[in-house]
């Protein structure tokens, strides 16, 4: 009998914990599922901090409803993401699910959003196809296609004609490779070679050496933000900049979170991305300041801004629906939403529910003794090229 | 003469197998004890127990008045035990020289004096333990115990499996160590004749008990008794 009792006790305790939130019956709940531990943990950290900052700045009551944020760690395991989302929807009766650090997590959860008619705000994962997985998906981060196409366009206009691409071997990487190559060759450029590195890759040396031996005009890179720093250092260490090879990349490589530690070697690296902590607008300056203040000096990066805007989209949709939590209404309200974000003006494409935003070309420069991505060119209102062909 | 080693009612074994069932023996200063017995009667277990390498059960061991049986194994060498294990157990990844220096303690016996006693070892100084012949390994094992500068030398079957000429050489050396240098020793052997000649006293073990003690001389003079205790006979 003891087993039984203990099991029951365990079940009871867990149900107490699960249902603790359910007391405030009328609150509007947002389930934020993020990788909080493991190798993607910094994404989770940035996003959670930004979401909390948004709530602190804009109050936790919207249209008469109290906003409640429930954060879950999915340890970057897709079936876990799905289960957590399912529990949030079924048990906690959340009105919106948000977060999703990696594409498979988002993909695994999307059918659930459809089934339960719950808006799913993707604030991190960046593969094009995610928004097509469910009519309830709304994205406030970016797609790699957006960034890659912009970089390709810029490269074509800047005397770069031979390029090697180097991407991490997974969904977003393949997207980056595909859209960069498409655009770049369409503009008359030549892709010398397409390299894919394993996601778990401790040493970039062999790949970089291959690039160096091939001597292209530029190397186009996409790796997830954690590996960016070490790639960059190895790029410099290999003397590739001196051999006349330019490094062009999506903004993941010069992630604001890490940029400062990369050292002067990063100076001059050109990237295309939708957000820089140095974006020269008042709104952004306030955002960065508040974020750094609330988080021990941690600089917000593009993940943070995506979560911040994600919260904004949810808040505004709630306002527009006058506090009604209905999923369809919320998604309808989100479609076509247009507003000023710390990254600049953005909108949600009413047809694809994907984000439309400016992609900035930036160069790493030093300001006030710190390294920043300084914007020098902009491509306005870029839609996800993955869906516009 | 002063008593050096006193073992009383010693019980010990390996794991749960108790091999020694109450052994009592003693060795006087400067004397040599021949410990005899057929295979599997507990001779080696007795030696290992003195060196601290078995599961001690009960009884007492005192060496020169110092209680040994509760002492951690590695301190027994300092207390005066110089162990020459049965399988020789030369450290196989050490050279001959290292085998000596790794354990050497300050005193009368140095690596040099060992090399003098066994010139063959001096020749093979830089060879690995594994590259030695059986006889050379045995010499090294004896030398390794000597550089500990022990009070009591434990020689466990030092002549086993060696060629006759080597046996003679080793016997000479042992005789020199025990007779001329006066080092106390316990020698375990299966072949009583050879060893009784260089011993003062003798003890015979059977099934973990001492079944006979006398002077070496007495035992040697009784071939019938010897055959009964140690030979192939009932």
């Amino acid at each position: 009998m003891k087993t039984c009792n203990i099991l029951r006790l365990a079940a009871l305790t867990s149900s107490l914990i699960f249902s603790a939130g359910a007391i405030a019956a009328d609150s509007f709940k947002i389930g934020l599922i993020l990788p909080m531990t493991g190798q993607q943990a910094s994404t989770g950290r940035q996003e959670e901090a930004a979401a909390r900052l948004y709530m602190a700045q804009h109050g936790d009551t919207v249209a008469g409803r109290k906003i409640e944020l429930i954060v879950k760690d999915d340890t970057t395991v897709p079936d876990m993401t799905k289960r957590l989302a399912q529990e949030l929807i079924v048990n906690d009766k959340v009105n919106v699910i948000a977060g999703f650090g990696i594409t498979p997590s988002a993909m695994a959860t999307a059918p659930l959003a459809t089934q339960s008619k719950t808006p799913m705000v993707v604030t991190a994962a960046a593969t094009s196809s995610i928004t097509e997985a469910s009519p309830y998906v709304v994205r406030t981060s970016f797609t790699l296609a957006q960034a890659s196409v912009s970089v390709a366009n810029w490269a074509g206009k800047n005397k770069i004609s031979k390029v090697i691409t180097l991407v991490s071997d997974y969904g977003p990487g393949k997207d980056a490779e595909k859209y960069f190559s498409q655009t770049f060759t369409a503009n008359g450029g030549q892709i010398v070679e397409s390299l894919r590195v394993p996601l778990m890759n401790p040493d970039f040396a062999p790949f970089l050496q291959k690039v160096r031996d091939a001597k292209p005009d530029a190397l186009f890179v996409f790796v997830p933000s954690g590996s960016g720093a070490s790639l960059m250092k190895q790029f410099i260490e290999r003397g590739m900049d001196k051999a006349g090879i330019k490094l062009i990349a999506t903004g993941d490589v010069t992630d604001d979170d890490q940029l400062n530690g990369m050292g002067d070697g990063a100076l001059g690296v050109v990237t295309g991305h939708h957000y820089s902590a140095a974006h020269p607008s008042k709104m952004n300056k306030d955002f960065v300041k508040a974020f750094e203040k609330a988080n021990n000096g941690m600089r917000p990066n593009f993940m943070a801004v995506a979560a911040y805007d994600g919260m904004h989209v949810i808040y505004e949709a709630l306002k527009a629906t006058k506090g009604e939590g209905d999923g369809d209404a919320l998604v309808t309200a989100m479609k076509g939403m247009k507003f000023e974000s710390p990254r600049g003006p953005i909108s949600i494409d009413p047809d694809t529910r994907d984000i439309v935003q400016n992609i900035y070309m930036r160069k790493v420069e030093k300001q006030h003794g710190q390294l920043y991505n300084i914007e020098f060119d902009v491509l306005k209102d870029v839609k996800d090229p993955g869906k516009t062909k | 003469m002063a008593e050096l080693l006193r073992v009383e009612n010693l019980q010990a074994g390996y794991g749960e197998a108790v091999v020694l069932n109450g052994v009592t023996v003693s060795v006087e200063q400067g004397q040599t004890l021949a410990l005899l017995g057929r295979n599997g009667t507990g001779k080696t277990t007795f030696m290992n127990t003195l060196a601290g390498a078995t599961q001690y059960v009960s009884g007492s061991i005192q060496l020169g008045g110092v209680v040994l049986h509760k002492m951690p194994q590695h301190q027994r060498a300092a207390a005066g035990i110089g162990w020459v294990p049965q399988e020789r157990n030369i450290f196989k990844s050490l050279t001959v020289h290292e085998n000596l220096t790794a354990v050497a303690r300050h005193g009368k016996w140095t690596t040099e004096s060992v090399y003098q006693m066994f010139p063959r070892l001096a020749e093979r100084k830089t060879n690995l333990g594994t590259q030695l012949s059986g006889g050379e390994q045995q010499m090294l094992a004896v030398g390794r115990a000597l550089v500990l500068n022990p009070k009591l030398l434990l020689l466990d079957e030092p002549l086993e499996g060696l060629a006759p000429i080597i046996v003679q050489e080793l016997l000479q050396a042992i005789r020199r160590i025990t007779r001329e240098e006066g080092l106390s020793a316990i020698i375990v052997e299966q072949h009583p004749q050879t060893i009784l000649k260089i011993s003062d006293t003798a003890a015979v073990l059977d099934r973990g008990c001492v079944v006979h003690t006398s002077t070496a001389q007495t035992l040697m003079e009784q071939p019938e008794l010897l055959n009964k205790l140690l030979g192939v006979a009932r």
Partner: protein, 290 residues
């Protein structure tokens, strides 16, 4: 081509320093210490803290990383690990993984989960090239530094092991623990020092590796597999085994990714399976050993 070989050697050398301590604890003490990576991480963070917050020069940080993790190793050995020596391997795994989990979470708490980056001194940043054409040898200065340091370490370890009295006592203890103790060698004490040195080396490896492998709190788990490969392939009975295994692994990994990039991730694992099927106890199985 030579450059690839060079890069592979540098990478392998780094792996060697990181893994050799683990090989020593496994081989000597028959203890499975999966928390080895945590010591490496500690060494890395010591370096980061010293460099970032106190502006200590990189070269001084290396010994600091070694010493601090060695001390940590002694503390853990005396307080926790020694109770685990007689436990089953599975308990040891559970225990050391538990320790790793705790270290990961603590480090996240203390240092945040982001990648740590250090600034090498200028003289380590450059690159030198020799030769031309296919035989060109390009050497990053830091990688030269790595190879030199690690080769010195390997040589030093080998020298200590073969030429010092401590080394011969250590080898004696490994050869035959029972007889070594019976001949007056304090086997426990030797093991403690060895454990400390192994941890210290891990810490040093962690410090040296920041530049190449990166450093974040998931380090101990991320590279555990690599350490284990080095130990399994190299065997646990010598210094040369892990060294050779690490070099083989480093070169195979780098060369494999260079020449057949699409096979990148398979090469190391396939190589390991083949080697272990061929020599189940590692490349350098001790003759007549267990």
């Amino acid at each position: 081509m030579l450059t690839i070989l060079f890069d592979g050697i540098a990478y392998g050398m780094l792996l060697f320093v990181l893994a050799v301590g683990l090989s020593v604890t496994m081989g000597l003490m028959n203890f499975i210490n999966l928390a080895h990576g945590a010591f490496a991480m500690t060494g890395g963070y010591v370096t980061v803290l010293l460099m970032q917050r106190m502006d200590v020069p990189f070269l001084l940080c290396l010994p600091a990383a070694f010493i601090s993790t060695a001390v940590l190793g002694v503390i853990f050995e005396r307080t926790l690990y020694r109770h685990m020596y007689h436990r089953s391997h599975l308990d040891q795994v559970l225990f050391s993984i538990g320790l790793t989990f705790m270290s990961v979470a603590s480090m996240t708490y203390a240092m945040s989960s982001s990648q740590q980056i250090i600034q090498l001194p200028e003289w380590l940043k450059g690159r030198t090239e020799i030769g031309e054409g296919t035989w060109v040898l390009g050497m990053g200065h830091y990688r030269i530094f790595l190879i030199v340091i690690c080769a010195l370490l390997a040589w030093g370890l080998q020298a200590i092991l073969t030429h010092s009295r401590f080394g011969s006592r250590l080898r004696a203890s490994v050869d035959d623990q029972r007889v070594a103790a019976g001949l007056g060698i304090n086997v426990n004490g030797i093991f403690m020092i060895t454990f400390a040195a192994g941890s210290g080396l891990a810490g040093l490896g962690g410090a040296l590796g920041i530049e190449v492998l990166g450093l974040d709190p998931s380090f101990p788990l991320k590279y555990l597999i690599y350490f284990l490969i080095v130990v399994a392939v190299g065997g646990t009975s010598s210094i040369t085994g892990p060294l050779f295994a690490a070099l083989l692994l480093g070169i195979a990994d780098v060369a494999g990714k260079y020449y057949i990039p699409q096979m990148g991730a398979f090469i190391v694992y396939t190589l390991m399976i083949v080697i272990l099927l061929w020599r189940p106890h590692g490349l350098f199985e001790r003759k007549g050993g267990k």
